[in-house]
Symmetry: C2
Subunit: 244 residues, 2 copies
């Protein structure tokens, strides 16, 4: 399993992903699930992946080959909109399905892959998409300004409670870290280090990437304050006097 989170804020885009993959508990490895495309000054594009690693790596490799061959039908550096970028990712997913779907089915392996695709092309609006394994996709809006893929449930309550498009980037980072902390406490299949990528709106040159590793003092501190604070908050809840 994986856990990836993309947030579309007035201030910009914030992406977070864990790095653990597992095929059974005896085959655990670390893979990056964040792919930042930043070689062209006019755009910043991030793709986060969850699901079957063979499928998601295949999709990313196809996108990279399109860049190498400068194939206009699938080059995300020459796409004219983020909508086109999402279509190119969806199309790559469908190509993998055409090539591998039947063989996977014969082995009883589900064709499971999902992607968070976001970014901005200079002069155009910042957008965030969730691309499904069928290659179709939906877009984040003001009402639900985030997408989660992978192991999403443990970390959803805090996002639902605090995240709005008006949330600042530092607050969104905090919210994401708390969400990952809750998830990693509950589920072994999501693990450190975390990738964090921030694309400020209309300031593509200020895009930043951070790797949050096991010994990260800020993340440890957030986790400690949050855990102790939750227990303290819990202790303030009034007792059910109606229980005998």
């Amino acid at each position: 399993m994986s856990y990836c989170l993309g947030m579309l804020l007035d201030a910009g885009l914030v992406f977070m992903s864990d790095t653990r993959t597992n095929a059974g508990v005896d085959s655990i490895a670390s893979y990056r699930k964040t792919f930042l495309f930043d070689e062209k000054d006019d755009r910043r594009i991030v793709i986060l992946v969850a699901g079957n690693l063979a499928i998601t790596q295949n999709v990313i490799s196809r996108l990279e080959e399109c860049l190498e061959h400068d194939d206009p039908t699938c080059n995300i550096y020459s796409a004219t909109s983020m909508f086109d970028v999402a279509r190119i990712v969806g199309s790559a997913v469908r190509d993998v399905f055409k090539e591998e779907g039947e063989a996977l089915k014969a082995h009883g392996v589900e064709f499971s892959a999902s992607f968070i695709v976001g970014g901005q092309i200079a002069g155009r609006r910042m957008r965030l998409f969730n691309v499904y394994s069928a290659g179709n996709f939906v877009e984040a809006t003001n009402e639900t300004p985030y997408f989660q893929i992978g192991e999403t449930k443990y970390g959803k309550p805090i996002i639902k409670r605090v995240l709005t498009p008006r949330t600042s980037i530092p607050e969104a980072v905090k919210c994401g870290l708390v969400s990952f902390d809750s998830t990693m406490n509950a589920n072994l299949s999501v693990g450190l280090p975390l990738d964090l990528t921030i694309i400020p709106r209309d300031q593509l040159g200020l895009t930043e990437s951070h790797l949050i590793a096991e010994d990260d003092p800020y993340f440890s501190n957030i986790g400690k304050i949050w855990g102790e604070g939750l227990r303290a908050l819990f202790a303030t809840l009034p007792d059910p006097k109606w229980v005998r």
Copy 2:
């Protein structure tokens, strides 16, 4: 979906379940998922159910028919241990599978049912089991003194953080209510009212049941304090100064 929770404490057993069932979003209904067997003074037994309603109702009906016919092979009122009670429930699940499994498979319906079975027989120890759809089961221990079935993930973090066997019954009730609050905020398939059943250890006569409905002032208050407290706690987290 459903959400059910059973907690095995030094002080006794606490059971909670929601009452929502759904077959698609246009077929939502309210069914009790807590079954308290309290007609014999020497024992209190609770069964919580999640999964396919036709299967779980069938299992409960079989158990009730065994009581009516006083069938010694499956009468939970004459079972001599909670272990036997769990075996009887597991056996009823297998009987339903024998009768219905093939027809369900032909219609592509998964045989999905799970049960939390707990209680105490006078003079014997209090026990809590999780019975799976294959009829096999595991028992709660000091290390993991609770079981969740159904829509378990949203509400797990708070339980993992605060629940131990030393938790008092009022605190366990609070913990359960916070867990249900987080779940119901995130997932429409879990809904009020909630059933709460408490069996104090070695005081079976003091068993109590509560129904927590939409207008329950205590539950609303807990949800309000918790939600506001979480946002206030979140605001106290230090900002990531390393974000530009």
